[in-house]
Symmetry: none
Subunit: 352 residues, 2 copies
């Protein structure tokens, strides 16, 4: 089942049975090196997570490390859900967008787009992103991208991306402090808030949008905002993610407002997981409603209630939640007749 | 599951979810009339097997004979596996390449390419093939062929084709006597070896590659070698077969060496069955490793362990093994989310 968060179900129902290109945007921000800020990966090697996620999604194995990324509590990467979907109902095409990673995924054949973007710095001291350049690269890519399938599922893997997203939305003036999700069940609010506040303290009243993004955002958020403006509603897109993708939409909104521009959004939707939707520590719906742009939003009504596996039960307890397009992938699986049982079994098969 | 024989899994993973054109190359060699040399068909009517396989694969029924080809021991044609795949996850397109059959398949709509090639003679007295002509026809077809899908699955049905393949590779100087498979569990080595030796005795030291092929090969092997050179790595191709397809690759290798030419093979893979891979009487991996060309190779990890049907259990006991692209078809099925259970049930449904 796919459930509505905002808007009607027409767009998502129209995509039933349609062919999808899956784009995975990967990026590193040094913000992830702050101790305890994220559990999206192996401590000390958090930067590898987007690389490993790309390898596992496309080829079913992690090549840049011995074993699949698990968090300290043993929550496996949500890439398991995306890969399970791809095995049961393959995406027609998977491409990787390298938006600045320290280690390139070791994969052949799968197109990896390179944009000559460097990993960004720690936002507490300044992300040091050439935001206009990254935005422009997203815009160009959106204008030039020819989708050979019926729609795009756009996903991300950016460790500590919820922190940079929250900071970005706050820096752009949105009242959203309590609306952002985290990979933790018990969000480490001290570290997180401290980081956000340090980051925001670097912003001057006079900084324009791009100056603000340069200091507190990440490459994925900025690029995706540009990409959506470049696509200009010409291709159907599912933003496969939670609060981070909602933040990219807020950037689009801010840019449009400043430009006094307009973007048609009839072909745009956001799809996330039930874990994000039901998270009590964040509010994806409120975050989308802050936006002047009206975008349909859905969540995949999938959880691990059919599983006994302790690592998977952690998802249902509020750890992990989203990433590597898990929500969009689950939506795609459910749209194409794959059952909760099949998905559960396939994910379990990875864990042994 | 799809398992690697040689190379990485990147190419085959890239083909997950992609659309395939299935090409079935059919041919008769009078070598198959040697009593006891093959069990790929009905004694006395072995020549009909490629015709019946084509009819059954495309239309689900045999039209040029009352009942589906069974061997004396009751091993049904591997076309069952290919047809089961096509029912569960259809190929986008099936075309037949008539490389010299005695009886044309009675099928409409499905494109049957005619190359004005006659069935070849018994290799023990000389196959009498115009090898240069057949090779050139394959080359031209490869250069002209426009694949409307993402990749080609190239399969064959040539009774006694493993004998002509073994002889061909030996005639070209490869040290591979014990590496070739057979449709039998207990290979009738006397008849087979006698045939091979008679055939090789007709070869003169001075014979060049094409003179050798003219005497001991079959149309499919020669045509496929030409086809691969004609395609020139411009389209992704799965060679759906075992030792026969490995032999076609050895012909390509020999021709390239003589011409001092080069062929890029990054878009080329061989996919076979588990029965071929695990066969103790042959060695597909060693055969591929004899080749200077590096080609990724995989096998579909499928067997009939979920079936109780006595005719199907014969596969697991080493009879049959491959043909009509069974290995490539199973790979395609598994790549597209079809389960072992579904495949088993579908094959069983043909047998009643």
């Amino acid at each position: 089942m796919i459930k509505n968060i905002l808007g009607t179900n027409d767009l998502i129902e129209f995509l039933r049975g349609k062919r999808a290109t899956f784009l995975l945007a990967i990026s590193n921000t040094k913000t992830a090196d702050i101790e305890g800020i994220t559990q999206a990966g192996i401590p000390g090697k958090i930067y590898l997570t987007p690389t490993l996620d790309s390898e596992f999604l496309t080829c079913g194995e992690v090549r840049s490390l011995e074993s699949i990324a698990e968090t300290p509590k043993g929550v496996p990467t949500p890439a398991l859900l995306t890969r399970a979907t791809h095995l049961l109902k393959p995406f027609s095409n998977i491409e990787v967008l390298n938006l600045g990673v320290q280690v390139l995924p070791k994969i052949d054949y799968f197109k990896t787009h390179d944009f000559s973007i460097a990993p960004s710095e720690d936002i507490s001291t300044g992300a040091n992103i050439d935001a206009m350049d990254v935005f422009k690269k997203g815009l160009d890519f959106g204008q030039e991208f020819e989708c050979k399938d019926d729609y795009i599922i756009l996903a991300e893997s950016v460790p500590s991306g919820t922190t940079t997203a929250a900071t970005t939305a706050l820096a752009l003036g949105y009242e959203c402090k309590e609306m952002f999700s985290s990979s933790f069940k018990n969000v480490p609010n001290d570290i997180r808030n401290e980081t956000i506040e340090k980051a925001l303290s670097n912003i001057k009243e006079s900084d324009d949008i791009f100056a603000r993004l340069s200091k507190v955002s990440d490459n994925m958020l900025i690029f995706v905002a540009g990409f959506l403006l470049g696509l200009n509603n010409q291709t159907k897109v599912i933003l496969a993610g939670g609060t981070q993708m909602a933040c990219a939409l807020l950037i689009v909104n801010s840019v449009l407002k400043q430009m006094e521009g307009h973007l048609e959004t009839s072909n745009l939707a956001l799809c996330t997981t039930k874990w994000v939707y039901e998270d009590e520590k964040s509010d994806i719906k409120a975050l989308l409603e802050l936006n002047d742009l009206k975008v349909s939003a859905y969540y995949a009504d999938f959880d691990f209630s059919l599983s006994e596996h302790p690592a998977l039960k952690l998802y249902d307890e509020g750890e992990a939640k989203e990433g590597v397009g898990a929500g969009g992938a689950l939506t795609y699986a459910l749209l194409n007749g794959i059952s909760k049982e099949e998905l559960t079994q396939k994910v379990e098969s990875f864990l042994g």
